[in-house]
């Protein structure tokens, strides 16, 4: 049954049946016989010396099986959690890389740092025992903000990291930038904060670990975006388990957005503990636990300056950023505010000189790592805010100043002054498309209508480029990556012509089971229903780097395309024998191998059958079977981009900002499944709107307590916060990926914060407001309005 469904179609998703009927299989749904419950005891202090732990009362508590601490891990000779990127300063001095023990040793460095793991018969018993664990803390001063952390007398997290600075990183030609600034007709300056965010995938993190003494094998089920990487990091570097003795499975995962792509200490502890107690163990985080243990995102303090000539042409851009790493280096931590930030500061503009300095700083907060967009939303926010500031100061229209500086379509490939070379793009086309779709022409009428109700309406633009499809291994290696960033796919054609694909990426909402099946259906001419996609299990999938950085379709899809080509090539060899024709004369089209210029042909199923029933088959020159594997290492990043336009209404009485219209035109390259791409854009945009208007991780300065530690205190966007969005694509094809795809998972989150804040500032500009930090909450806006209106009232 079923049809061939090709590239560009929007079949309904294969994965939906199970999710819609409650039959998904998430980690917390899995039950293993004899499972014990695990609970982590976490530090209630931001910064404290761990003077000792008295286990006795907890151990005596009913149902308790074991209590494990950092000392036990040390005694077992276990390693610390590895950091996947090592960056260096301009002189080549490597970053400071203090150990990140899986259970705290000597000191705790953030509220939520893991102190002990308690295993009991039931979660209730484990929780009860956790209450009885006597931990002796000597509380120290916490430091949570980057500005405070680098002050001379600030509390020091690590003895050998002076001023809490992990690395003083820079990029770009400092001298060229300085000389351009000297010649500038105008210099725009802006100080801003990029607020700390918490990813909040709706499925909390969870893990189950099991040890089988009969085979000496471990299995870890975990909510991960990259099970093979967990197997590698945890097995080889933390627990010393040989790779072939360790199976890591990430089944259905309920959203990730980056925060499930790191190797977490919980995974290592539970796996180690499963062998110590010889029982399967299950741990499921509560949402509040997630707030203090899921890696956070963003958290920058930035000073930026843009030099312009008298016509508004950008001459140079200078950015100094303090980036918060939290208490330890997480898997990709130091890479995010450096390699994924600095090289994107060129945006879609021809700025000839750029210099960026980033001080990567430790503080007593949850470690910060990649969250949707990771580095690129931060770069876009700085750039698109300062362009608006410059336009306002120079009296140039905001669209006009962008046009004057945009890279023209013809100028691609375009080499930026900050490492990267964009292969293709059309920023002006995206801008024009967005202007039309947003009906900017009649904005004045809408603004007047708002004014008549006493409201302020504003329009905000954000044009952006992002680097995705992480990444050419060679390039990544030069930037400090300690792993490769290729992807793998195996296409297994069964004797009856159905296909199972094993792929190294992970599907946690992006619809891979559908999109990848479309690619195979399209290329092999096999019915869409006859293709299954397998992922997320190191025992079933050969290898893979997982899903993050919008790399699945770009890198994984390319590996799949390559493997599919190999299947066709082998099929041609078989067909040439069966049809008694030269191999060069065999054509493959629409599921049929035929001899050019004749009506002699074999169907794909016939060839598959012959490969497995090789009665009349060239066994001398060809092995039986029809299964091919490919690894693909990209030649460049891909560079999606686009233009987002937000329209807001501000109620001066309450300070409430209402998003009333939102338009996005994005260049994501070839669109395989328009329905899925649109869904990714919607979701991404709302995460960015969340950052701009609602979301904020707030710490108490002196105690290091996370004040926004639950869904009651951290405002997540809800359905009635949003208008109907208009999203469209305006695609140029990527010149170096097999299908021309660029990636789409993060573009929404990259484009939207600046668009929304630019709209808020526009709405308030008549009051002299030139900048608003995120999130633009009613409280923040109301205070701004009180201050802004004071002089007016005094007149």
């Amino acid at each position: 049954m079923g049809n061939v469904i090709g590239i560009g179609a929007s079949p309904k998703r294969k994965e939906d049946q199970r999710f819609l009927t409650g039959r998904g299989n998430y980690v917390s749904d899995i039950k293993r016989p004899g499972t014990a419950a695990g609970v982590f005891v976490r530090s209630p202090h931001g910064h404290a010396v761990l003077r000792g732990i008295d286990k006795s009362a907890a151990l005596a508590s009913p149902g308790v099986i074991a209590v494990l601490t950092g000392d036990d891990a040390k005694a077992d000779g276990l390693g610390s959690l590895p950091c996947g990127w090592g960056i260096s300063d301009a002189k080549g001095v490597p970053m400071k890389e203090p150990p990140f023990p899986m259970l705290a040793q000597g000191k705790v460095r953030f509220v939520g740092d893991m102190v002990a793991f308690i295993i009991a018969e039931t979660p209730e018993q484990a929780n009860a025992a956790a209450e009885l664990l006597a931990v002796d803390y000597e509380v120290l001063h916490s430091v949570v903000g980057v500005l405070e952390a680098i002050r001379p007398n600030a509390p020091q997290l690590f003895d050998d990291v002076p001023n809490n600075i992990c690395c003083d990183w820079e990029l770009g030609d400092k001298a060229a930038v300085e000389s351009a600034f000297r010649k500038a007709a105008h210099v725009a300056k802006l100080s801003l904060v990029n607020n700390r965010l918490i990813g909040n995938p709706m499925e909390p993190r969870a893990a189950i670990a099991e040890y089988e003494p009969g085979t000496d094998r471990f299995t870890l089920w975990t909510t991960s975006q990259f099970p093979h990487v967990v197997r590698f990091l945890m097995g080889a570097l933390v627990l010393n388990i040989p790779q072939h003795k360790l199976r890591v499975v990430a089944p259905d995962v309920g959203g990730g957005f980056g925060v499930k792509q790191f190797h977490y200490g919980e995974e290592a502890v539970i796996t180690w503990a499963a062998k110590r107690v010889m029982r399967p163990i299950k741990w499921v985080a509560s949402r509040s636990e997630g707030y203090v243990s899921d890696r956070h995102g963003r958290d920058h303090v930035t000073e930026a300056e843009l030099a312009l000539d008298e016509t508004g042409k950008f001459l140079a851009f200078r950015v100094n950023t303090l980036a918060n790493m939290g208490g330890y280096l997480s898997t990709f931590g130091p890479n995010i505010p450096t390699n994924l930030y600095g090289p994107l500061l060129g945006g879609v503009y021809t700025t000839p000189a750029i210099y960026c300095n980033v001080k990567v700083v430790f503080t007593n907060t949850v470690p910060v790592d990649a969250y949707r967009g990771a580095g690129r939303p931060e770069a876009t926010f700085v750039l698109e805010r300062i362009v608006d500031v410059a336009a306002a100061e120079m009296g140039i229209d905001r669209v006009e100043i962008r046009r004057r500086n945009m890279i023209p379509k013809e100028a691609y490939p375009y080499q930026t002054p900050v490492l990267v070379q964009y292969d293709s793009g059309d920023p002006m086309g995206c801008l024009d498309g967005a202007l039309a779709a947003a009906d900017v022409k009649s904005f004045g009428i809408r603004k007047a209508a708002s004014a008549s109700k006493g409201k302020f309406r504003g329009l905000g633009y954000s044009t952006y480029v992002e680097a995705c499809g992480l990444a050419p291994s060679r390039f990544a290696g030069r930037l400090g990556a300690r792993g490769g960033l290729y992807e793998s796919a195996t296409v297994r054609v069964h004797p009856t012509g159905q296909v199972t694909v094993m792929i190294g990426t992970h599907n946690h909402g992006q619809g891979h089971e559908t999109t990848f099946a479309q690619i195979v259906s399209d290329k092999l001419g096999v019915a869409f229903d006859n293709v299954d996609i397998v992922f997320g299990d190191t025992d079933r999938v050969q290898f893979g780097m997982g899903t993050y950085g919008s790399r699945s379709l770009v890198v994984g899809g390319a590996a799949l395309s390559k493997a599919t080509d190999k299947v066709i090539a082998k099929g041609k060899k078989i067909a040439s024998h069966l049809l008694e024709a030269a191999e060069v004369d065999i054509q493959f089209e629409a599921g049929k191998f035929s001899v050019a210029g004749t009506d002699r042909m074999k169907t794909f199923e016939e060839i598959a059958g012959a490969a497995y029933v090789p009665h009349n088959y060239p066994l001398e020159v060809l092995e039986p079977g029809l299964e091919e594997q490919a690894y693909y290492d990209p030649v460049n990043f891909t560079y999606p981009g686009g233009c987002h336009i937000a329209e807001v209404e501000v109620d001066p009485e309450t300070g409430t900002v209402t998003l009333v219209n939102y338009t996005a035109v994005d260049d994501v390259g070839t669109v395989i499944n328009p329905m899925i791409v649109e869904g990714q854009l919607h979701g991404g945009i709302v995460q960015g709107v969340g950052q701009a208007l609602f979301e904020n991780a707030v710490y108490d300065e002196s105690s290091g307590q996370l004040l926004s530690g639950s869904l009651m205190d951290y405002c997540m966007p809800r359905a009635d916060h949003m208008p109907m969005m208009k999203v469209a694509t305006h695609s140029t094809l990527c010149t170096h990926t097999p299908m021309g795809v660029k990636g789409c998972g993060e573009v929404g989150t990259i484009g939207s914060p600046a668009a929304v804040i630019n709209a808020v500032v526009d709405a308030l500009s008549h009051l002299g407001v030139t900048h608003v930090d995120m999130p633009a909450t009613p409280n923040r806006i109301w205070r701004l309005l009180q201050n802004a209106s004071l002089p007016v009232a005094a007149e």
Partner: protein
Amino acid sequence: MTVQISFTLNGRPTTVEVEPATLVAELLREQLNLTGTHIGCDTSQCGACVVHLNGLPVKSCTLLAPALDGATLLTIEGLQGAPGSNQMHPMQEAFREHHGLQCGFCTPGMLMTAVALATEKPDLTEADVRHGLEGNICRCTGYQNIVVSVLAGAAAMNAAKGE
């Protein structure tokens, strides 16, 4: 100490022994193996756990199991037609048709809320739906396709009633 409770679960009479402090969401997931009802938070904010108690949507993470005694409970597993059939409820069909889900984690709760909204007010508007989904968080979809799905599902439920 456990108590015995009897209730109708997805159309079937059910009797279980529970600890009095057991939450309905836990009872369903742990004791009855109905893992379609999800737990996404600990503060009754997310709505991943919504089920119908006597026809009304409730957050099952906020309800103690003894309250079920004598009641009628519908979970996501009971929403579609006959057990084992692949026939889906019109609201489920609408979510598939309009791409109202991505990772699927919020989806059971969304569907249960959506069916309740459409049952309560057959001529739903976009504003009604957005307001009605106040207690359900989705981190993936940006809500747009969920809203479209609920409107379409409500229309389909109306049409089915009219037949």
